[in-house]
Assembly symmetry: C2
Homo-oligomer: 497 residues x 2
């Protein structure tokens, strides 16, 4: 259970607040390994709920789960030039396979056994394109084997210099989809399908609005033809990339010789896609909804959706309320809800309320002797609002409240995002906006990397996406917001995590 | 889909047969990384079904899932003497964090960047006692924090010299439970609880009979006070350890300073347990039930439980049977079953039967125009037996058949095990049995490691367990089967995987 502690207000220090919320809700903890975190039960349960929902969506669209090795032979990274450049500076490399006693004392009692050096070092996967496409080359013979639609849930390692719980950790958990297709159109359809699936997950499960679109050349995945992404706006007005979907073209197929016989008898390279979302989504969820009292979890992903807190003084009340509380819990569980009945004896109700709030539980039911006498319980919402509801219809009342909360969280987050977006700003307004309160800035883009680099250097803002049609401004911008040259596409800029 | 290929008969070469069954059912494949396998969708689905069932059981007994880092600082292994001795010779060690271009061509174009050496090497977890108990030391303050009951689903790495798909791979997937308790009795209760839970899973889900009991000193886990295990007998009469549950005593608590304040105000070391089962269980399942036609999957864990194969000749028949087949599939899915309707056009029914057999699908439904006319379909069982069942009640007929098959598999495996066990053999009979057809040999044991070592050296048999009461012979042996000294316990010997 969470320890009572003071949470730094968002307005005072957003980053401190973020860490405090995580500690208060016991979502994660720092580990003795630099940059690696421990995901504690409350946080891991949230990840499992995310996994379950996403996995169902991935399966329903015809993908199957598999599992590929953690290690990748170093030489595989030499095969796709951009890919190795993207990852060479942040990989954990296994070079030996034994330890030996040194005869010394304490921490120095043990050392790497130099006689156990590997002939070829192994890289701990930072992502699995290379090892998976090496297997695809073995499995794919003909057009009948296509499309091949696989997904894996796994841990990956990227040696990050600056790390932050959930947002950027040396090891993280994710799913990575890998597919092979007969042609570019089919690969493109897949990459877009998944982008839509991720968007649906973000909106419907996380209650987190996102902008979808394409990345520019400078921001795309190492080895991809095109990268699509979804971007969300956090409460500190910094953007967070919540997922990516890549059309890899034939780059990896050529590097790993993944070819298929066409219906006409020819031999062609396949087209690949890869796509993933990570435990970073938990960080996104925290920074989208939570407040100065701690975690706010959207009902669909809350490990505990309802906490029942009895208020008793006498032993007789305790007996009576224990029976009622257990029955209400059972009724709610029958309705498919995740419920805790907090019968702890060594805590006052107020302290329990505080604790469940910090844990982000959307609905609390308070049951006291007086309520009971009048055949009702008090339904309190995490974000405010208390009202008595009839004891008879508790599951219906709670389900309705959870649905309303889920919808309200999404609406509030979208409203906040729109209030923190500007469109059609001049260069001066743009600089003031980005360096000031921050947010999403929409504007024309000339398509030149030099403009992008200059903007980044002066404002620390990057193009998050070239947004998909439905997110674009009503009137297409005519000139580049920065240099005034003709605009080739509207872009969304922001400082980002 | 599986490629038709010839499976080596068990009688000819059991090991070849095992590999053939895996390849035919596309459960796994060899990877380019020595000793690491790829778990293909059909095999991974089986693992997911196992995970789901086991996870429910683990949760129901009050455990919560969490996730700890993949890497463990090398110095942690110096803290528990037996533990490091058990694992030092088989760990993957990360020593560097960057690659660099060499200017050479091909596979040599890339090398480890020597300037990226870590100050302290990191060990890829072979098991997580050390890192988890380091965290326990941070989280546990008082008796109120106990018991602490955690579990994690993760990949681990042990640098094995001789590897074999599922049975012994460098990387494997598992769950590892880690708990902390106030005293020895509570830790012992936990270790036994989990052993029982594993047994129930093996029997009820895998249809695999097991013997439970304690390991001898020489076979227990590195760092444990007592190790309990479950042992199953494969079709080649070799034993396979299917899971272990350890009472770790206070060994790790002392090494990692995990102490708690007692109710009386004193300070005590906690008592730990750890326990795990791995993807090895898939190998156990294969070698328990499968036959010369390929995989036999127990219905509860079969990725596909029912394959519907239509038999059509004309386009009219095809249209009619497609409609019926889809409806039957839907009905079966509504009944909670995992179903495929095999409407492929480029294969004859016989080839489809062969393929579904190799994949281990317990029940096949054949639907032809004639059956349809008489309002029935043919229900064929993977292990033999074909009978028409009325089209109206297909879900009931199939559910009944699956229940019968599950029960029959368990009964047959138990019968086989008993037929391949001997009790009360003399030393000469024991040697003949173990070196001959093999199996489980029950006999008295003097408790001396020298006897164990001699038996192992001469027969390659080890004590699998000192069996729990219900598995023991009616009459307790009085003397050691090997040396004739007084017996301290009955033991079960076998050659083992």
């Amino acid at each position: 259970m969470a320890q009572a502690q003071k949470i730094t207000p968002r307005a005072k220090d957003f980053s401190e607040w973020y860490g405090d919320v995580i500690m208060q809700a016991q979502l994660a903890d720092y580990s003795p390994v630099r940059g690696c975190m421990v995901i504690r039960p409350h946080g891991y349960r949230m990840w499992e709920l995310m996994q379950r929902a996403l996995d169902d969506m991935i399966r329903e669209t015809g993908h199957r789960n598999a599992y590929f090795p953690l290690f990748i032979p170093m030489s595989f990274f030499a095969k796709e030039a951009q890919h190795v450049e993207g990852f060479a500076k942040e990989v954990a490399v296994v070079t030996h396979t034994r330890l030996r006693a040194t005869g010394k004392q304490g921490a120095e009692a043990i050392a790497v056994d130099p006689s156990s050096a590997l002939e070829e070092p192994l890289v701990v996967r930072p992502t699995s394109e290379t090892i998976i496409y090496a297997m695809f080359a073995k499995w794919i013979q003909s057009y009948r084997d296509l499309p091949l639609l696989l997904n894996q849930w796994a841990n990956v390692v990227r040696w990050e210099l600056r790390t932050r719980l959930f947002l950027r950790t040396t090891e993280f958990l994710w799913q990575e989809g890998h597919t092979a297709h007969v042609d570019e159109a089919d690969a493109e359809r897949e990459a877009r399908l998944i982008l839509g699936l991720y968007r649906r997950f973000a909106e419907e499960w996380m209650a987190m609005p996102v902008i979808t679109g394409a990345k520019t050349e400078s921001e795309k995945f190492a080895g991809a033809l095109r990268t699509y992404a979804l971007e969300a706006l956090m409460q500190d007005n910094k953007a967070l990339q919540a997922g990516t979907s890549h059309n890899l073209g034939q780059n990896f197929a050529k590097a790993f010789e993944v070819r298929y016989q066409t219906a006409a008898g020819g031999l062609e390279y396949v087209w690949n896609t890869s796509w993933g979302v990570t435990t970073r989504l938990i960080g996104a969820l925290i920074m989208t909804h939570s407040d100065d009292n701690g975690l706010v979890a959207p009902p669909k992903l809350a490990p505990v959706q309802v906490a029942i807190v009895p208020i008793w003084k006498t032993d007789e009340e305790k007996q009576q309320l224990s029976a009622i509380g257990s029955r209400v819990k059972e009724d709610l569980e029958k309705a498919g809800l995740r419920v805790e009945f907090d019968a702890r004896d060594n805590m006052k109700p107020g302290a329990k309320y505080f604790e469940w709030e910090g844990l982000g539980v959307p609905v609390r039911l308070e049951i006291g002797p007086r309520d009971l006498a009048s055949g009702q319980v008090v339904l309190a919402r995490r974000l405010g609002g208390k009202a008595p509801v009839p004891l008879q219809g508790v599951p219906a009342s709670v389900t309705k409240a959870l649905d309303e909360i889920q919808a309200a969280l999404f609406a509030a987050a979208r409203e906040r995002r729109e209030q923190n977006s500007i469109r059609g700003a001049t260069k001066a307004q743009f600089i003031e906006f980005i360096k000031g309160r921050g947010g999403f800035a929409y504007g024309g883009f000339c398509g030149r990397g030099t403009c992008e680099a200059e903007i980044k250097q002066q404002t620390n803002a990057t193009i998050r996406v070239l947004p998909d049609p439905e997110f674009r401004s009503k009137e297409a911008p005519k000139t580049c917001m920065w240099c005034g040259a003709p605009s080739i596409a509207e872009a969304v800029w922001a400082q980002a995590y």
